[in-house]
């Protein structure tokens, strides 16, 4: 295990903006944990209702086969096989996939393709309940979806998390890098970068991903932007990491200094691998949003570096980036 251990971490005084954003996120997840469970439970009950998923799967299969070119070939192949062999398992999978497709929900009820009218009528009623429950969920309203977003949701989605695991993983990384970045660019700078990265992430998600019914939520896009900018600013600087190599012995745990470009490359490659390796239909993590945030961070970093270089070329006095004392050091690990 290895984690960055940077200056300013755990210090509210040194990084007030970072900690304020963290506390806002904490407030939101606590609030949603109190307000949202009933709707969440209703949605989960519907998702567990085998009759609903079976009927929906069947209707979705007919729908996919009648929407030439709109759906990937894997969907069409699955729909054809499901209907031909009357496969309960495939129909169930199609039923679950349909829940991620707003286009299907909006258009299927008007489409007549020989499906049993009684089934269709029942499904329309249940689908209506599903949509109403989903729309009434606060986390859905605060998230970003293809057919349903406003200027406000581009901000609110960054403070909404699906569960505590999601929240903790994002916030831990945000605190580590956000506090260090805030020392370098100030509280206002961090706020702008964080929110802008989040917005660009959402835009990237909408442009690239095809999931229309599942809202984008979470601070991952903002966090990715913060990390990217940090790495751009401290590209060759040794960044302190704390490590533990599962051997409880001197030399196998402690601190090591690695240049920031390593962090950046590993972070980007992980997201790229996740994006390429996950079919759209199955994804739970919006890797495209991460990549969008990283792009934003890189852009801001390059712009900043460009401005500094231009000013230096013109002979202006440019203050060096704060090295933060404990953050910097030789690149090679300092092992005892």
């Amino acid at each position: 295990m290895i984690l960055p251990f940077l200056a300013g971490f755990l210090s509210f005084r040194k990084a007030p903006a970072t900690w304020s954003l963290f506390l806002l996120n904490l407030f939101m997840i606590c609030f949603l944990a109190i307000v949202a469970p009933r709707s969440q439970r209703q949605l989960e009950e519907l998702a567990r209702d085998k009759t609903f998923t079976q009927i929906q799967g069947r209707i979705f299969a007919h729908f996919v086969l009648n929407q030439a070119g709109r759906y990937p070939s894997s969907y069409e192949a699955m729909a054809e096989q499901a209907l031909r062999h009357n496969s309960v398992e495939k129909i169930h999978v199609l039923g679950m996939l349909a829940m991620r497709d707003t286009y299907f929900f909006h258009h299927a009820k008007d489409f007549d393709y020989g499906v049993d009218p009684v089934e269709k009528r029942w499904w329309i009623k249940k689908a209506g309940q599903f949509l109403n429950t989903r729309d009434s969920m606060l986390s859905y309203g605060l998230g970003v979806t293809e057919n349903d977003y406003t200027a406000l949701t581009w901000l609110t989605y960054q403070f909404t998390h699906s569960d505590w695991g999601h929240f903790l993983s994002n916030m831990l990384v945000f605190l580590i890098f956000g506090t260090a970045l805030e020392l370098a660019i100030g509280s206002l700078g961090l706020l702008v970068v964080s929110l802008a990265s989040g917005a660009i992430s959402a835009l990237t998600y909408l442009l690239i991903d095809n999931v229309t019914a599942i809202p984008l939520i979470g601070a991952s896009g903002a966090v990715s932007g913060v990390i990217a900018l940090f790495c751009m600013l401290y590209w060759r600087t040794g960044v302190r990491h704390i490590y533990f190599l599962f051997i409880p012995k001197r030399g196998y745990l402690g601190f090591v200094y690695l240049p920031a470009w390593i962090i950046f490359i590993l972070w980007v490659i992980s997201d790229l691998a996740g994006y390429v390796g996950t079919p759209r239909e199955l994804g739970g993590v919006a890797y495209s949003a991460h990549l969008g945030g990283e792009f934003c961070g890189v852009l801001v970093g390059l712009t900043y570096m460009g401005i500094r270089w231009w000013r230096l070329r013109r002979g202006e006095q440019v203050a060096p980036l704060p090295d933060g004392g404990p953050m910097t050091g030789p690149i090679l690990a300092r092992l005892p």
Binding site: R58, S74, Q81, N86, L245, I247, L266, I269, E281
Partner: protein, 615 residues
């Protein structure tokens, strides 16, 4: 005396020279310690190389998951293999290039380790040596990584990949270096090897059995999917020689419904048949009826289908059956009979089967008998019809015919079906008299009860076993309490053992008590008491109903009790009602009545005389 063996001496000298050579290391270089090598491995493959390997494998992983979604096993395996190969290629390339160019991977650099040629000690391995080393390094993982233990056993700490490539891993840091393995390390390696060998043998056997079982299950599953139309084999087979219905060849759905009524077709097969588009076109009411059964677990949609049937055609047989189902759900017996009476007598096979099934459940055997002739003699229906006939004949007091058919049924049926039928027939025999415990159905039931695990978890077998315990002293009811039993029957058994009249009466009055148990409880009460405050409510309830073997048995007990307590008016009421439903030939069952009486009719006449005398 010294024994001078030249051969032994030469061997010892050779070993000493080898040991000296092995231990000879240049100044400032030492062997890398196993912990440092492990730490370098963690840094290399869990921190640095992993994201690259995942990136190169990701396109294949995606295709594999997509293939899995559509059930394309072949593509899944191909992409899985490609993914594994690309991952391996990435790891081998990482190792080869770093060892060839720099003599160490980044992880080794962090911990001051170097891979050097064994004999020169100051040169890096060549490209081919680095490549061979990497390939062997990867290969060792396919042997559960056991060859890596050589770092703690080999004098130069060289596993197979180092031996193959003539390399050794040394530490450039004096303090972190290590010497040859000590005896504790060697002992640890030996223990590990033996333990792993043992687990590998057991694990291999278990995995092999599991794979065989999984393969067999997926083969059976793929067979069940049927032909390209996704329909059911059972219907295909039955259609081959299914007789004409109303002069026409029956539809697939009609045959499927018939098989479903007999329990020979499951819901998934029925669904497959009803999803055939032709089903909806040819006979929509029937298709909707089938769908209501398919969705029977979801009352809302099932009821919608039933409602829709009558909107399509309110005079169709399907509509009448839909109303029967509605009546049964509401326990509206009048509606049930009303709608059944509207069914055509020569209606289709599946309707007759449903009628027989429902009437047997309601214990109206006379009504069930009206439909027997509609059922063709078809092999698919035998498993249902033979036991059904046995029950109907029993209900019509044609005891000997019933026993003969029951024997045939017990030979034909298997498993749970056999247990259920044997328990029903044995219970019916015991209802007549305890001497029924020696009947063939009771003998078969007792044998199956002992053979099948959890046999008494079902209601009917548990009740039958309880009744045997009540009749046969050797098979005590108390013995049952130690067994797994249906909870309702267990509760009744506890009351039987305690013989507390008030508790029994409360249980009988409780609306939650199953009706099958109510009559049994009432019989127990009659055995224990003659008090009118207990007997009168039982009699009034009995008089308000008029069906069932247990009802008839209770009626006989009530009649006997009233005669014994000289309650002539009550006895007359019970007797006259019994006579309406019991054939006059059923004399044998009534031999428990007071002596010198041959038939119920005679006894009722005698009671009438006593009543008039009393007046």
């Amino acid at each position: 005396m010294v024994i001078h063996d030249e051969k032994v001496e030469r061997e010892l000298l050779r070993r000493a020279e080898e040991a000296r050579r092995d231990l000879e290391v240049p100044p400032l270089e030492r062997l890398a310690s196993p912990l440092n090598r492990l730490a370098a491995f963690v840094v290399d493959y869990f921190v640095l190389a992993w994201p690259f390997a995942v990136l190169t494998m990701s396109p294949f992983k995606r295709h594999m998951q997509e293939a899995n979604l559509i059930g394309d096993e072949f593509s899944m395996q191909v992409y899985g293999l490609l993914m594994a190969l690309v991952g391996l290629f990435t790891l081998i390339s990482y190792q080869t290039l770093f060892h060839w160019i720099a003599g160490a991977t980044p992880g080794k650099f962090v911990f001051g380790l170097r891979v050097v040629a064994l004999w020169s000690r100051d040169s890096r391995p060549t490209f081919w040596e680095a490549l061979g080393r990497s390939c062997f390094w990867v290969g060792q993982f396919f042997l559960l990584a056991l060859p890596f233990l050589a770092v703690m056993a080999d004098p130069n700490r060289r596993p197979w990949h180092d031996r193959f490539s003539n390399t050794v891993v040394v530490s450039v840091r004096k303090k972190a270096a290590s010497m040859a393995p000590n005896i504790y390390e060697i002992a640890l390696v030996r223990v590990c090897m033996w333990t792993v060998a043992g687990f590998a043998m057991v694990g291999g056997l278990v995995l092999g059995l599991r794979e065989y079982h999984n393969a067999k299950r997926s083969y059976e599953f793929s067979q069940r999917l049927g032909g390209s139309s996704g329909e059911c084999e059972a219907v295909d087979q039955a259609l081959e020689d299914w007789p004409l219905e109303k002069g026409e060849a029956p539809s697939r759905l009609s045959v499927a419904m018939a098989l479903f009524a007999t329990g020979d077709l499951d819901k998934s097969c029925l669904r497959a048949e009803v999803e055939n588009p032709l089903s909806l076109i040819e006979n929509r009411p029937l298709a909707y009826l089938a769908k209501s059964f398919v969705y029977s677990d979801n009352q809302e949609i099932s009821d919608e289908y039933l409602n829709e049937i009558c909107k399509l055609d309110s005079q169709s047989d399907e509509c009448h059956l839909a109303r029967v189902i509605e009546g049964m759900a509401e326990e509206n017996t009048e509606l049930v009979y009303q709608e059944f009476s509207k069914l055509n007598q020569d209606s289709r096979v599946y309707l007759s089967l449903w009628a027989i099934r429902q009437f047997i459940r309601m214990q109206d055997f006379a009504s069930a008998a009206q439909y027997i002739d509609n059922i063709p003699a078809h092999s698919s229906l035998a498993y249902f019809m033979i036991p059904a006939r046995a029950k109907i004949y029993w209900g019509l007091h044609r005891r000997e015919e019933s026993r003969a058919i029951a024997s045939a049924a017990l030979d034909l049926l298997n498993g749970d079906d056999k247990l259920q039928f044997a328990s029903w027939h044995c219970f019916a025999e015991l209802n007549d008299a305890c001497s029924g415990a020696t009947s063939s159905s009771c003998r078969v039931f007792s044998r199956l009860n002992e053979k099948i695990d959890g046999a008494l978890n079902d209601f009917q077998p548990a009740l039958t076993r309880l009744k045997i315990g009540d009749c046969v002293p050797e098979k005590k009811v108390t013995d049952l309490m130690a067994m797994d039993m249906h909870p309702d029957v267990r509760q009744y058994a506890e009351l039987m053992i305690e013989k507390n009249l008030r508790d029994l009466h409360e249980y009988w009055q409780d609306s939650e008590t199953r009706y099958e148990l109510k009559d049994e409880v009432a019989q127990q009460i009659l055995k224990l008491t003659s008090e009118r405050k207990y007997i009168d409510p039982i009699r009034n309830d009995w008089l308000s109903r008029s069906r069932g073997l247990a009802w008839e048995r209770l009626g006989r007990e009530l009649f006997s009790k009233d005669v014994a307590t000289k309650n002539w008016a009550a006895a007359l009421k019970v007797g006259e009602k019994l006579m309406q439903f019991v054939p006059s030939s059923a004399g044998a069952a009534y031999n428990r009545l007071p002596a010198s009486v041959d038939s119920l009719a005679d006894k009722v006449a005698e009671v009438r005389k006593m009543l008039e005398k009393q007046k």
